[in-house]
Amino acid sequence: MRNEDGARAAAAAGEPDRAEVPGLAADLASASEYRPPSAAAPDSASTPDSASVPEAEGESGDRAVEPVAPVPLAARARLRPALGAVYRAQLSRARVARIPLLFVATFQSLGIMVLMRGVVDGGAEARAVVSGASVLVVAFVALNLLAQYFGRLRADGGLDHYATLPVPPAAVVLGTAAAYASFTVPGVVVTAVAGGVLFQLPLAGLWVLAAVIPLAGAALAGLGAALGLLAPKPELATLCGQLGMSAALLLGVLPGGALPVPVRWVRELLPSTYGVEALDRAFEARPQWGEAALDLGVCAAVGLVSLAAAAWAYRRAAVR
């Protein structure tokens, strides 16, 4: 019943206009053809390359004298291959330029754990230290370094390169974020295993890292990318990235229960916290996987929102 009504309403509202006013119909057709690339991105992945067909519409009104046949458009880069290409390029770039930084990130976390070894002796506190230090590696690379990267790229005009290629913004943002996140894998694994050994925690649950790294990585990298692309100046992007990482350090490593209430709220707001909590549960003798899954769900949701925000920010930054 409702469907019929809808169809009738559409026929009453839309169709006659289209039939009677060809110019408007063309406008409508072109308006529906044009989608903001952030919205078009997933779609363009699923459509095969219909792009070689000229997407011309009848906008010949002011050009009756000299009609110019629109040249066929080249194919768009589809989401998945483009994402793959960006990922591969970024990873190769990371291999050259970021390895020293990965060492810094890992040694920083190892150092924190060694320091805390003197203060903490096992139990919940030890779990918090190890999982906080492990996720800190992700925060350092995905949040801090990515914010810096995009901030710089935006400031010095490097975004022009991507903006003049027919690539969905999501591919650039996701590919870069994924490359940064995967780059943290060795550091996180080393930190988690070393921490587990240092504090004599059970290592059997560490397989959960396979979910923690990509999901915490998505959340933090999305945040980093959005910060880098939204900050009006690259210095500000760097500052925000650093602050975010410091927050992840302090609020991640210290167990939540001991903190004053306002600080605990801040801790709840930080997406890295949920990665830390999930990993924390994996170190328990009898892990509660349901709770861990819930934590990781929060990471995934934050990741989704922040990556979408970053893709939007990219589009905004690309056209000035």
């Binding site: 072109s30 044009y34 690339p37 078009a40 390359d49 792009a51 997407e55 011309a56 906008e59 000299e66 110019v68 046949a69 629109p70 040249v71 458009l73 080249a74 194919a75 768009r76 880069a77 589809r78 291959p81 483009a82 793959g84 290409a85 960006v86 591969r88 390029a89 190769s92 770039r93 050259v96 330029a97 710089r152 790229l153 010095d156 005009g157 490097g158 975004l159 022009d160 390169h161 991507y162 903006a163 003049t164 290629l165 027919p166 690539v167 591919a171 690309a318 056209v319 000035r320």
Partner: protein, 383 residues
């Protein structure tokens, strides 16, 4: 026209061209009724009539009434504020299919602003941008599917190897892996970059880095190439490779090329037509030869450098003095061919020659055109 004799300090440097070169040229153009460019020269930097494209050659690019103003910046501590800048001031332009079209002008003339609007990187305040039959203001996302753009920055490619930079750009231009690799290899060979394929772009010299960026821009065929100062910093071999590669694309695929340059020599060599920009306006647009004929006629430029001071007691020299743009010891004269011959005879004889340090006689260049049209003339490169 009163700026002819400023900047006396430039007399010491041999290569610096005095601003004054403009004055006699304009004067001669004004005195010659038959010269078609004379009104433009008299009118100074006002919008000149852009030649209509030949019928049958559909425009590849059509810009109509483009206006772009950058907003004023507020003064902050340490940096004074700046008034709003009209970087693009009512530009109308048509580029024909298959031609190499140049935008010539000094730094800050609005060349890059213009191509940024053409490539969809920047939206004009008003006006129209149409590329190969597509309205890019209505469909900005189509720009990337019609044209390849080489910007001035390489930071997106800096940390990749030359090979990966070209391949990735090809992939992002919609090629599949095999096509991207095939084109990458072809372009690297064509530009002579194959020996550097494995090096990171960042580690190359300035000219090589630029060449790597050109390679990335050329992977994945596009009917329109928009190149912003592609050969900056390149050695002659690399330049020749770039022009050969660009020309091949034009010859074999009918590609149209829009080129930004501030190098007048290069502009004369490679461009079919050139638009001269000054302060956001097009002050002339024609073939390099046509512009020269229209604005500076068939005259030649005579430069005289005196040892100490000009021997004004020689009557011929005194006569020349009235026509010369004087910058210290250096005189620049725009003369007809006969007058130039007589002037050379006069100054290479007797007391005048004794006072003469150096002289040169040259045919007009695009720089003369630029100056004759009222351009400011600073920042043009001649090499």
């Amino acid at each position: 026209m009163s700026t002819g004799t400023t900047r006396t300090g430039s007399s010491g440097s041999g290569s610096a061209r005095p601003d004054g070169a403009r004055a006699p040229a304009a004067r001669e153009a004004a005195e010659t009724p038959g010269v078609p460019g004379a009104p433009a020269a008299q009118a100074g930097p006002t919008a000149a009539a852009v030649p209509e494209p030949e019928p049958g050659a559909p425009p590849a690019v059509r810009l109509t009434g483009l206006v772009k103003t950058y907003p004023a910046t507020r003064a902050r501590r340490g940096s004074p504020g700046a008034p709003p800048v009209r970087a693009c001031d009512g530009v109308d332009l048509e580029v024909r299919g298959g031609e190499v079209f140049g935008l010539l002008g000094p730094n800050g003339a609005g060349k890059s602003t213009l191509v940024r609007q053409l490539t969809g990187l920047s939206r004009p305040d008003s006006g129209g941008v149409e590329v190969l039959g597509h309205d890019l203001l209505r469909h900005p996302d189509r720009a990337a599917r019609l044209l390849a753009y080489l910007g001035q920055e390489s930071s997106a490619l800096d940390e990749l190897t030359v090979s990966l930079a070209a391949e990735t750009t090809g992939r992002l231009r919609g090629l599949d892996v095999r096509a991207a690799r095939r084109e990458r290899d072809a372009v690297l060979d064509e530009l002579g970059l194959a020996p550097l394929a494995g090096r990171a772009v960042k580690r190359l010299s300035g000219g090589q880095r630029r060449l790597a960026c050109v390679a990335a821009a050329l992977v994945g065929e596009r009917p329109l190439l928009v190149l912003d100062e592609p050969t900056t910093g390149m050695d002659p071999v690399a330049r020749r490779a770039v022009w050969a590669a660009v020309d091949r694309r034009r010859r074999e695929h009918g590609a149209t090329v829009v080129l930004v340059t501030h190098n007048v020599i290069e502009a004369e060599l490679v461009l079919d037509r050139v638009a001269v920009l000054d302060s956001g306006r097009i002050i002339a647009c024609d073939t390099p030869g046509g512009l020269k004929t229209a604005t500076v006629g068939d005259g030649v430029r005579l430069e005289l450098v005196w040892r100490d001071r000009a021997p004004l007691d020689v009557p011929e020299v005194a006569a020349l003095a009235r026509q010369a743009a004087v910058a210290g010891r250096r005189w620049t004269l725009r003369l007809g061919q006969d007058a130039a011959r007589r002037a050379v005879t006069a100054v290479t004889d007797g007391p005048a020659f004794a006072a003469l340090d150096d002289f040169s006689l040259s045919t007009p260049s695009l720089e003369d055109v630029y100056l004759a049209l009222g351009g400011r003339g600073e920042g043009l490169v001649r090499s």
